[in-house]
Every structure is written in C-alpha cells, then in structure tokens.
Symmetry: C2
Subunit: 332 residues, 2 copies
C-alpha cells in the first residue's frame, strides 16, 4: 500500500470510486464493506476512498427514524420509500443497531421486512454494521451514508431502535430526527422520560387506523407535553402527525413536513450550521476514542494499569493520583 | 517542593493533615481550599495531602440531593442536618453548582440560607467551587468530600441544582441520590423528561403541608410513573415520600429510608460495588480530560487544528481523515 500512503488511490480503489460515482450497486456495496472493515490495512484505503468521494456528498436530506419495537418502523420506511421513489427520488436505508453484534441479527438484517422496497432499483438497503460498541457502529454508518450520497441517492434514511444512547447518536448524524410512536400512553412516557421527545424534530403516531380516537388523543397529549419542552430551534416547533403506514395514509403529508423543515432551517442557516457542527463533533469523538486507544496500548500504561485500577477500586489510591501517574507515562 | 515530589509531605502539609484528622475546622477549610486551587504548584501538594487522608475516608454515607429552584432544598437540608446532629451525627454539606462561576453566586454561597445549621459545630457547610466546567467543579467536590470524611463527618450531603448534567454527575459521586420535588405536575414532567427520576433512589415531595391532597396525588402519580421505569437495583424500588421541611414533618421517616437503603444495598454487596465503580469511572474521566488537554497543548496539533477544523466543518475533509492526521502527531 505504498502508493496509498502517498495519498493516491490504487487502481482497484479508483475503480471502486468510479463505480460508486456511476451509481453501480456492486461498487457501492463493496465500498461500504471496505469502510466497515475492522482490518487495520483497510482503514487507510477506506479513508482515501472516502476522501475521493467526499466532494460528491452532502446533496441529500438525512432522515433519522427511531421508535420502539412494534411501532412499525419497517412498514413506515417501506411506505415512505415507495412514495419517494414514485416521486422520482432514490432512497438509501441504513441502520444503527448496536445490539446486532450481540443478537447476531439486525433490525434490517431480515430483508423480507421491506420486500417492496428491496425490489426497487432506486432503493438501497443496508443492515447495521456489527462492530460492537455504539460509537463504532455509528462511525461506520456515518461513512456508509457518505458513500450512498456519492452514489447519487437523494434521501438517506437512518433507522434505529431505542437501545441505550442510539437515538441521541443517530440524531447527531442526521438533518432531521423523527420519532415514531404508538398511540398509547406507555410509549409516550417512555419517550418523554428518555429525553427522546426533546431531540425529535417530528413526532409521528403510526397505526392511527386501528383506533382513530386513541391516535387523536395521543396526538393532543403529546402536543400538550411539547409545550413544556424547549425546542431545539427557535424557528421550528416539532409537529405531531398521525399516519397509517400500512394503509399508506399520511405519508405524503409527512414528507411535506420534512421538506418544510428543510426549507425553514435552510433559510435560517441552521441546516448547514447543524451539519458543520455534526462533522466537528464527530471528529472530536474520533479523536477522544483514538487517544484512549493509544493510551491503553502504551506499554507502561498496560503494565501499571491493572494494579492501579484495583488500588483505586479498593480505595488505596485516589482516582486523581492514579490518573496523574498513568498520564505521566504518555506525556510528550 | 522537592520533598513533595519524593512522595513525602512538607511540614506545613503534614500539619494540615494532622489538623484535618483532629477535626479542626480551620485545617479542614484550608485543605479544601488547597484541593480546589487551580494553581499548578498546588496540584501535587493536594494529591499528597489527599493520599495521606485517604485511609481515613469512606466511613460515611454520601447523600446527593437535587431539586429544581423553589423545591426547598436549603430548608430540607437544614431540617435534615439539625435532625442528624440531634441524633449525634456530624454533617458536612457541599454543593455542585456549575453555574456559580457564571452567576458569581453559589447555591450555598448565601450562608444565611442555612442559619441554624451554620451555627452548629457538628456541621460544616461549603459552597460550590467555581472552576467553570461541570467536570472541574465535580472533581473538586469529590475531593472535598474525601477531606470531610477524613475530618470525621458521618454524613456528607451534596446539593445540586438541575443545571445541565449536574444531577447525573452528582448521582455518580454519592451512595444515594434523592430527588426533591414540588407537588405539581409540571415539576414531575420536567424530572421525568430529563431522566432524573430514573436515577433517583428516593423521591421526596416537599411542602406537603401547603396542600396535603395535592401532595398525596403527586405521590400517587409518581408511584404510577415509577412502575414503568426500570430501577437501578433489583433489590431496591425507590420509595416516594411526602415531607414538610419547614414544619419538620417526615424528616425522621426520610432518614429511616436512607438507612434502610444503606442496609439493603450493603447486604447485597451493591453498596461497596457502587463505590468501587464510581472511583474507577472517576479515574477514567480524569484520564480522558487529561489526554484531551495534552493533545490540544501539543505544538503540531495546535498549529494544524484550526485549518483542519475548518476543513471538516466545510466538508473538505472527512472527520475520520482529520482525526487520523491529528492523532498521528501524538502517537508514541
């Protein structure tokens, strides 16, 4: 990889880049696999391929969709995807599911869950990378998102389940974050309690066809709750919608709200500002995890750490003294 | 400070340590001032004094008390403090208020707010350190807590206001975390939404004397909400109490619950396990902030950072590539 280290692409990687830019599915899938690889040798190649693709990214809208199991995320995304394709758009669906490496499955692993969308050439569906930690999964999904953008998709949908901090993480990588809810109070309370409602730009009650009165009631309750929460933007008050993904009702209205969001925040400058801030935050989070990794790999730290950890846990050393001693090893 | 660097205390610092261990207020206050000092020269001295005090710490119960402004924290802590002193205990009250450096004041700055407690020899009240960031404030309060323990206090109370992440931070440094609430639904929703209810080991509705029915209703509502949240320990379901701090009603019952908490979690081993985990987490957080500080101080990083930050924000470089380039400077 000497030519790669000089900053130029190998012929094979240039071929990948060309394939992605031409919108070829095979090149797209192979590039995402390269980006997701944990193989050390692949990291530098992935960075260079991404650098070559970067000028072709960003001309999309990135939509995060979260909701508890049973809220009907797959059906909703499928209906939305088909609607968008019929409107002439190309749609990529990615997933962030930190539990997939544990469970062996992924929220998008079972492709039959989005059968209609899978059959469309204008759609690309990719299950969650299974690299273990949420940070690792999220980093790879962020990069896969850039690859899809370079491949010419217009809309990127990032799906997540409510596992730990995954909603906050996904909200930090998309332009607009959607919370899909069931019209029942338990689901509401969970979302309010976890602070998810606070980070949502749109709240959607799905399965409204089952009990329209319950859905209208849930919508009213949520709107009341929202008045007590601070909204993230002074120019946008999160709307609360009811849809029926299965009956394909409310999908066009939902997308109109997404477009209104994009227009409003683009006009105020917040749309671009959010992307800039997300990119910088992402860089710092990569730096922090890199620093921690280097630190733990340092021979002196590795040899002193176990005893100091146990001293700190047992109260024989203060955390401050232990930290100072370990940090002294890596001071430059 | 050459003798200090060899690990032994100077005569003056030994005098401080002896004073603290003898329970002398002046030595206690001076030691906390040393611990809180941002003077670089004082850091090493503070670490050595703390190391000398460490074997005498830990034989206390550390109680975190949080609540929105107006919930009556000062009155509650004063009533509790007087109750404990009358039961033969010595009580230290510390505060974590990251806003104090901005506002110039501190939640405990106005000592007249706890007039009765201030006059007692068995009490020690210390306002929040004003070092800027929440992490900095919290680290200094953690160390002040150890100094108070070495000085023979039996109960350490850490008060905090609901500013940003301060509740989570305080919950991470105490044995038992108490949420003080007003009996009205707005206060409840705020606490549920911010995830504070989830980390509380005890929930107390204060000012129950003003409207007993409202207090009973709020208590019922909160108990219902709690059934939907997961509790932190399988052995402890957070009780919901009503008190009137001003009328000194319910204070003895509150303390009985704190003692039951300590007994229950000591029996299951969770009490000690929590302290061990807190100490280790604290060490890692000190290491992370130390690594970040070293990193930013590195000459090559300092000179390359501004341009890379702007490249990342403008989308000319991927966060991954920028992070890799910056990390390469500090690789050992």
């Amino acid at each position: 990889m000497t030519s790669a280290s000089a900053g130029s692409l190998t012929a094979a990687d240039q071929h990948l880049v060309d394939g992605v830019l031409a919108g070829r599915r095979r090149a797209l899938a192979k590039t995402i696999t390269l980006v997701e690889s944990t193989h050390h040798d692949h990291h530098r190649r992935a960075r260079q391929v991404l650098a070559a693709l970067l000028p072709h990214t960003g001309r999309t809208i990135r939509v995060g969709i979260s909701g508890s199991p049973g809220a009907g995320k797959s059906t909703f995304i499928e209906s939305l995807g088909v609607h968008l394709i019929e409107a002439g758009k190309r749609v990529a669906v990615l997933a962030v599911d930190p539990s997939s490496s544990v469970s062996g499955g992924s929220i998008l692993g079972d492709k039959t869950r989005m059968e209609l969308l899978c059959q469309r050439d204008e759609a690309f569906i990719r299950p969650s990378p299974s690299s273990g930690s949420l940070g690792g999964v999220a980093d790879k999904t962020r990069e896969a998102m850039l690859v899809c953008e370079a491949a010419g998709f217009d809309v990127i949908i990032v799906e997540t389940v409510g596992v730990g901090q995954s909603e906050t993480t996904v909200a930090g990588m998309v332009d607009v974050f959607v919370l899909l809810q069931l019209p029942n109070a338990g689901d509401d309370l969970q979302a309010i309690k976890k602070g998810i409602v606070e980070i949502a730009d749109l709240i959607v009650f799905n399965k409204a066809d089952i009990d329209e009165r319950a859905a209208a009631f849930a919508r009213g309750q949520m709107k009341a709750a929202l008045t007590m929460l601070r909204s993230a933007s002074p120019n946008w008050r999160p709307p609360v919608l009811t849809v029926s993904a299965l009956a394909k009702r409310g999908i066009a209205e939902f997308w109109a709200e997404i477009e209104r969001f994009q227009r409003t925040l683009t006009a105020s400058g917040e749309f671009e500002e959010k992307r800039r801030r997300q990119a910088v935050d992402w860089m710092w989070s990569l730096i922090d995890s890199g620093l921690r990794r280097h630190f733990r790999a340092h021979p002196a730290v590795r040899s002193a750490l176990p005893e100091l950890l146990s001293d700190v846990a047992e109260g024989h050393t203060t955390p401050g003294a232990a930290a100072a001693r370990l940090l002294a090893f890596v001071k430059h």
